[in-house]
């Protein structure tokens, strides 16, 4: 499916999405409340069938925290970027996708570890890299660590 058709199709599914201009492939931002509805359709609609989650990135945009998903369909060969953001920096919570793409389980643990975003219904949400006693979330832009961090 080409870019324009994909855009129309996804806007038909979830009217609230915001498409973005991107060099390689279609990118959309979806409200956090609509994420599950969108990703279930992306996986299950036969003409979309995004079955491969290439990359799951946690991002701190300064004001907002969020996750960027890169999906690919191994059957149709099209790609899609989905962004979801939350403005709550104190207790950011998003919905998990790891029941749909199992690879998300580890990636969401990484995002939780380094950015502190919690994922609802994740089966095993523990820190993955850092020690249990680590305070703070290093990939956040406001992270300060006086002990371990060397400022250049």
């Amino acid at each position: 499916m080409d870019r324009e058709k994909l855009k129309e199709k996804i806007q038909g599914l979830v009217p609230e999405i915001l498409p973005e201009e991107n060099k390689d492939f279609l990118a959309v931002t979806v409200p956090a409340a609509q994420l599950r509805k969108l990703v279930l359709a992306l996986r299950n609609e036969p003409d979309l069938s995004f079955d491969f989650l290439v990359c799951l990135t946690g991002v701190d945009w300064g004001k907002e925290l969020g996750v960027v998903y890169h999906f690919e369909s191994t059957q149709h060969k099209h790609m899609l970027e989905v962004k979801v953001k939350t403005a709550d920096r104190e207790n950011p919570v998003l919905e998990t996708v790891c029941d749909i793409w199992r690879t998300a389980e580890f990636h969401e643990r990484e995002v939780y570890d380094l950015l502190g975003i919690r994922f609802n219904n994740h089966p095993d949400l523990r820190k993955i890299f850092l020690d249990e006693s680590w305070v703070g979330y290093p990939l956040r832009k406001d992270y300060v660590d006086d002990v371990n961090f060397v400022e250049l």
Binding site: N22, K23, D24, F25, A27, D51, F52, L53, V54, C55, T57, V59, D60, V68, H70, T74, K77, E81, W101, R102, T103, E105, F106, H107, E110, L114, K127, I128, F129, L130, D131, P138, L139, L152
Partner: protein
Amino acid sequence: MKEIINPVAKHIEEEEYHINMGPQHPSTHGVLRLVVSLQGEIVKSLKPHCGYIHRGIEKMCEKDTYPQIIHLTDRMDYLSAHINNHAVCLLVEKALEVEVPERVKYIRTIVDELNRIASHQLWWCSFGMDLGGLTCFFYGLRDREKILDIFEQSFGSRLLHSYYTPGGLMQDIHPEFQKNVKDFIKYFRKKIRDYDRILSGNVIMQERARGVGKLSKEDAISWGVTGPSGRGSGYSCDVRKHHPYAAYDKVKFNEVLLHEGDTLARYMVRMHEMRESMNIIEQLIDNIPAGDFSAKMKAVIKLPAGEYFQRVEAARGTLAVYVISDGNKTPFRMKFRSPNFSNLSVLDHVSRGCKIADLVAIGGSLDLVIPDIDR
């Protein structure tokens, strides 16, 4: 006698207990700890504990310029250092819309494939050693040494090269590079038959690998298992074929696909891939075009504000780089989707129900490199 042994045996059979495999264990190939739940010697479940060598490369990238970042990517999957460099270089070149000279594309493709062979050689010798064949280890390392010598002659280092720069290469290839590569291929075509004779055709190895650690194609896609491990399950995921970069669109090669999905299939894919890599190099090595070894680049590289995504086929699977740039000389956010991180996540799924000795074979066939998981 019976009365004494039986309660103990019963106790062992019924109780589930946990043992640590690693962090220092020869078959984890690095500092990885697997907490294995066992019933008798059957693996019930397995929890990987990573982070022993987590260096926070993604955080370091936010302070570094793009040419500096290339040196960090070496240290992720150190066995495919060139290919990791390639991912960042391609991303910067795409963002700046720089067209690199044909000569650079050819050299990069050849060096990538040499790197892939060297990586598969080390996998082959350590896989043999995991299963108890120490001879393999010497055979594999002996031949890998030849590639490292070629690397050293042209790039000045043997493991962490940082040879690619955005826009081209650090320096031109050594005058004897082509001759040495051709000599190596002639040499290795003979030696790879020994590999087959000593391990691929070995009945003990085949019995230990066939039907062990089955992974279906659907599961491979869902868990994001790419590279030779995914292709052993029939998942066509070769980035070189589906999204060609460098000179891969100019060469003819086959994407090796096997459908059994077991340890033996993953083994055979890598053996075929070494031959395919040699085919690719042979098509290019005599046709390297003359010209510059680098495009003209600005002294300070600033990516235009925006988001960029680039994938390459590393020796262990899809390496994706995702950059959010705010127009500065350092990235706002840089993410590496490393192949081993996803490949590790499937280990629990494929090893459930197998014997603990099979876990070593499965781990070997997934070919995990720990610094790439921890980053």
